[in-house]
């Protein structure tokens, strides 16, 4: 685990950017944290099943039924910008 990872490439994947030239600080702390995490290299995990959720809880799915607990208008009212009852965003195509 000793790769040099470019914080700007990761930020792009995360839909983030940097303002005020703060990428150097993020890069520095990111590198330090990854180095700290390298202690996991010492653990032998051969044959160990990854634990994704505790107690073997597997999602108990509810019936896929439409309910109208929340009013559409109330939800749309939360949006920063709405046009003709639709969310407004910059052109996509």
């Amino acid at each position: 685990m000793d790769e040099k990872n470019n914080i700007e490439e990761i930020a792009d994947l995360a839909c983030l950017t940097f303002e005020n030239g703060d990428q150097d600080n993020y890069q520095k702390s990111f590198d330090q944290i990854l180095k700290f995490f390298n202690s996991l290299d010492r653990v032998d995990v051969k044959g160990v099943e990854p634990m994704i959720t505790p107690h073997g809880i597997y999602p108990e799915l509810r019936p896929d039924e439409v309910n109208n607990d929340i009013d559409r208008e109330d939800l749309m009212a939360l949006a920063p910008e709405v046009k003709d009852s639709l969310y407004k965003v910059p052109p996509v195509v």
Binding site: A14, L16, T17, V48, I52, R62, L75, L78
Partner: protein, 477 residues
């Protein structure tokens, strides 16, 4: 009146010794008076007086929390109230629905008098990462109250309400409870529905309670437990009302690695005094081992950051919350990916962005097995360590943190130092176990020291019974 317990308020309202409105008004006034000292609250809910009046009018006559003022951490959605997780990206978001567990509290007659300060999206151990400004420790205003539920802990210590709700992902109830000298319970993962609790790390997040005593925290917890089909990981299990007068004998486990973690002298001295008391009482004390303790911090921060990077992808400036898309030249962006980036970059605070970056990296192609999956494998080893330990004992006791509350600004420039503060709380969180913190004593500077109790999964009620016995033992000291 602010000294009354949860039970005393409930009984007084039920027997009409005083009105719910009188109680509510007293606590609202006390919140207004006390809050400027610490900034524990982000909103005081003056509308709550209407709800109190409805109780007085007989619209609700029974409930374990009838007329009891409750303070709720700002990451639980409450219909009609602003809910922001103390993040700029959710500023002005008024929730259109109420979290399942908060709904349960209200059904039992609770009155939500205020919402409390926290680290943004529950990411932090000091309550310094809040868009509403930091919260101070009520015992020493130069120190942090702990985090992320720092506001809830401070509010209980300042008697702004007898009961507060927090959430615990890696110690966010236990650590602030310890730093502020109150009791905090994090139940077994899956015990309380997460529906309506703003997600941070979905395989770890659990709601819980904070109060001055074990019994009060337990009454609140019991009200919140219940099967909810809206949370697929919510488990149906029976929570028996604990016997607070229990005289059971226990086998008490002591984790060797926790005692060897560089504890402050007063903490280890007071733990040793308690162990002596336990032995004198005739309970058995056994040493147990959690050999993978040293790996808990990297495992926790990889798992939690990975889940957070996914959960927080929903904040995009389209459907709710902040939209900030003005470029430096004064023009609005007109391209979608830049639109997302600007809003998210300006809406999230520094620590949240750091964790999103870390999580995005650990889930990215080429690194997923090396970081995320590896962390999940070591997580299982930690859970197995606890399973082995509980073959030898009924409950585990130990410290909550190595040191008492630290100074404001002491650790916030060094993320790793801040993360290390969670060393003794994250292992049980990773294993999904019920655990809690109760006041053990004070250090030489009069700062509170907390005692941590960890119990087997779904033995929450037994843990609380045991905690009540320990609480009694400490009172007799």
């Amino acid at each position: 009146m602010i000294d009354l317990s949860v039970e005393q308020i409930k009984e007084g309202v039920e027997k009409k010794e005083f009105s719910a409105e009188e109680v509510c008004k007293t606590f609202l006034d006390h919140c207004q008076k006390e809050n400027p000292k610490t900034n524990a609250l982000v909103r005081i809910n003056e509308q709550s007086i209407q709800r109190a009046r409805r109780i007085d009018e007989g619209k609700l006559t029974k409930g374990s929390l009838l007329g009891v003022p409750v303070i709720v951490k700002d990451n639980f959605c409450i219909k009609g109230l602003e809910t922001t997780a103390c993040s700029k990206i959710l500023r002005n978001f008024v929730s259109p629905y109420t979290a399942f567990c908060i709904d349960r509290l209200e059904q039992e007659g609770a009155i939500i008098v205020a919402q409390s300060n926290m680290d943004e999206f529950a990411m932090g151990s000091s309550n310094e990462n809040s868009a509403y400004g930091l919260c101070k420790n009520p015992i020493d205003h130069t120190r942090v109250p702990g985090g992320s539920s720092g506001g809830s802990a401070a509010a209980v210590a300042q008697k702004m309400a007898p009961l507060a709700i927090g959430s615990d992902t890696g110690g966010s109830i236990r650590q602030p409870a310890s730093f502020c000298g109150v009791t905090g319970i994090k139940p077994t993962y899956g015990a309380i529905s997460r529906f309506g609790m703003i997600a941070f790390a979905s395989s770890l997040d659990q709601a819980g309670t904070m109060a001055r005593t074990v019994k009060e925290a337990s009454i609140g917890l019991q009200a919140m437990i219940g099967k909810d089909p809206q949370d697929a990981t919510n488990v149906s299990f029976s929570f028996e009302t604990p016997d607070f007068q229990s005289n059971k004998k226990y086998r008490v486990g002591i984790i060797k690695e926790y005692f060897d973690s560089g504890l402050q002298k007063e903490t280890s001295d007071q733990l040793n005094q308690l162990i002596k008391k336990i032995e004198e009482k005739g309970w058995e004390v056994v040493e147990v081992k959690i050999p993978h303790t040293e790996y808990a911090i990297p495992v926790y921060y990889l798992v939690a950051a990975s889940e957070a990077s996914s959960n927080l992808s929903r904040y995009d400036g389209v459907r709710y919350g902040l939209r900030d898309i003005q470029r430096e030249d004064g023009q609005n962006v007109n391209e979608l990916s830049e639109f997302y980036k600007l809003t998210r970059t300006r809406g999230f605070g520094e620590e949240v962005k750091r964790r999103i970056l870390l999580g995005t990296f650990s889930l990215s192609a080429g690194y997923y097995d090396q970081y995320y999956i590896k962390a999940c494998q070591v997580r299982r080893l930690i859970a197995q360590d606890f399973q082995e330990a509980f073959k030898k004992c009924d409950h585990i006791i130990g410290p909550v943190t190595t040191h008492t509350a630290f100074k404001i600004n002491e650790k916030c420039k060094d993320p790793i130092e801040m993360y290390k503060n969670d060393l003794l709380t994250v292992p049980s969180s990773l294993a999904g176990l019920p655990c809690m913190s109760l006041p053990l004593g004070h250090d030489d500077s009069n700062l509170p020291i907390g005692l941590q109790i960890i119990s087997p999964a779904f033995e929450d009620s037994k843990m609380i019974e045991f905690a009540a016995s320990v609480e009694k033992l400490l009172e007799d000291q």
